[in-house]
């Protein structure tokens, strides 16, 4: 039985996806392999374990950071954002 489609937003862009399916898996199915970037190396990261163990799929969902996207079911109107890694720290920083 197919889940009904609902609207949601990925990085501000409107999309449709199956209600109740974990967000990280929905995005994988839509070809969105890259879910974030390693905070130190900047290398892309995506879904890995699919069951909450690896923490590689963290997204900001409805304003809350670091949600494991493979554990959060898609809901209507959800706002999903990829988390941008911090900028490098300045070597010297004088006021």
């Amino acid at each position: 039985m197919a889940n009904p489609l609902v609207r949601f937003w990925l990085d501000g862009e409107e999309r449709q996806g199956p209600l109740g399916v974990p967000v990280g898996l929905v995005l994988y199915g839509q070809g969105e392999r890259v879910l974030g970037w390693n905070e130190v190396t900047g290398q892309p990261r995506g879904l890995y374990c699919g069951i909450g163990h690896c923490f590689e799929c963290r997204l900001e969902i409805d304003g809350v950071r670091d949600q494991r996207a493979c554990l959060v079911p898609l809901a209507a109107g959800m706002r999903v954002c990829r988390q941008v890694p911090p900028t490098p720290l300045a070597f010297e920083d004088a006021p």
Partner: protein, 403 residues
């Protein structure tokens, strides 16, 4: 907010946790089931195996376990348990983040996790732990991709290959992992082949071509590998290429190809490496009991390779070294879901007895018998040496925590 009180808190709604919750709730106890996933079922839910002429359909088994719960069982889904505090006397506290819940007894049933197989390029999006493909396709009907390579030869990899039939995957190969420090624990290629043949002796469907090659005879492995077809053997819809190694996953922003290398019958590289296009890679590094919570809870544990790693020592009725804390399912060692269900029932009765209920003798006999049966009928073992490890675990447990 003052914490809610329960007779029993079950952490993990996989087959073990659900089975225990069934026993406890039907015996009239107030039960809370906590799981970090949004739906119950754990790893059972997306399992799907053809066993001879029958099919093991995990989703169906989950439905059965859930409908066997007595009404009134409370749920906290989408809730991670990070710590267990307190004691049997004052009550165990879990789920501190949301005002807490207190249980007079707690079941640790958090299951197993996949062991990482870190090969070069493994962090590229599109590289998945092999179980993720099971969750994607059998769970949610999302195909993992079109051209895939499974790295590593462990039973879960073969099971997933079989499950992916019908997922629209055009090409799927199973190859060996590359030699490196990160894969050293797997041993040399000939050692990995040996292990595979040992597991194949139990011969589920996927292993039959391999088993046939061997005729179950020891010492034939070298010969078999010399005769092994370079293009691999067809095994449940995938090509099993035992004489190929994946050296690295290649790609810019996600998986585009895999660098492969042929090996000779001694497992040594033969010829130059080449790349083959792929849009997904599944790493099959094996399973280990998820031990974080059992470590945090401070129960006595031991290490058993045959069980997959570090597991609590438990009495025959699955009580840990801390009074009131029980364990069941894959936290006690990686075995099949049917074993987890039987352990869950047994632990459920153990908890009933701990809570002061009376358990008729035939209940124990029934539960212990079901566990034995599930073990005997297991379609395959996840690690070689399971039987011996179980005996050692039992003996150590008896000595350290009691019969």
């Amino acid at each position: 907010m003052s914490p809610k009180r329960f007779d029993a808190v079950v952490v993990g709604a996989g087959p073990a946790g659900l089975a225990a919750a069934g026993v406890l709730s039907r015996a009239g106890y107030a039960v809370l089931v906590v799981d970090e996933a949004p739906v119950p079922g754990g790893r059972l839910w997306a399992q799907w195996h053809r066993l001879g002429s029958t099919v093991w359909d995990g989703a169906h088994e989950v439905d059965r376990l859930v409908s066997a719960l007595a009404p009134g069982v409370q749920w906290r889904l989408s809730t991670s348990v990070e710590a267990i505090a307190g004691s049997a006397a004052e009550g165990f506290q879990v789920d501190l983040a949301r005002g807490g819940a207190v249980g007079r007894a707690v079941l640790l049933a958090t299951g197993a996790a996949e062991v990482p197989l870190p090969i070069p390029g493994w962090t590229l999006p599109g590289v998945l732990a092999v179980g993720a493909a099971q969750t994607l396709w059998k769970g949610w009907h999302i195909p993992p991709g079109r051209r895939g390579i499974i790295v590593g030869t462990n039973p879960l990899g073969f099971a997933v290959a079989q499950e992916l039939l019908g997922a629209g995957v055009e090409s799927l190969a199973i190859v060996m992992p590359p030699p490196s420090m990160a894969t050293a624990h797997l041993g040399s290629l000939p050692q990995q082949w040996d292990r595979l043949f040992e597991l194949a002796a139990g011969a589920p469907r996927w292993a039959q071509p391999v088993a046939r090659l061997l005729h179950g005879r020891a010492g034939w492995q070298r010969m078999a590998m010399r005769l092994y077809p370079p293009g691999g053997l067809a095994v449940s819809g995938a090509r099993l290429q035992l004489r190929r190694q994946a050296l690295a996953v290649e790609g810019g922003d996600c998986v585009e190809a895999v660098t492969l290398q042929s090996v000779d019958a001694a497992g040594l590289p033969a010829g130059a490496p080449w790349t083959e296009p792929a849009d997904f890679v599944l790493l099959a590094g094996g399973l280990r009991p998820l031990g974080e919570l059992t470590a945090q809870a401070g129960v006595q544990r031991g290490h058993y390779d045959g069980l997959g790693g570090e597991v609590p020592l438990v009495t025959a009725r699955l009580a840990t070294s801390r009074a009131g804390l029980f364990a069941a399912g894959n936290v006690l060692g990686v075995e099949s879901a049917r074993v987890a269900i039987a352990q869950g029932r047994l632990a459920g009765w153990g908890m009933v007895a701990h809570l002061g209920g009376s358990v008729p003798a035939d209940r124990w006999r029934e539960a212990e018998g079901a566990l034995e049966l599930a073990r005997r009928d297991a379609p395959f073992a996840f690690q070689p040496g399971l039987g011996a490890a179980r005996l050692r675990h039992r003996a150590d447990s008896e000595r350290e925590v009691g019969p």
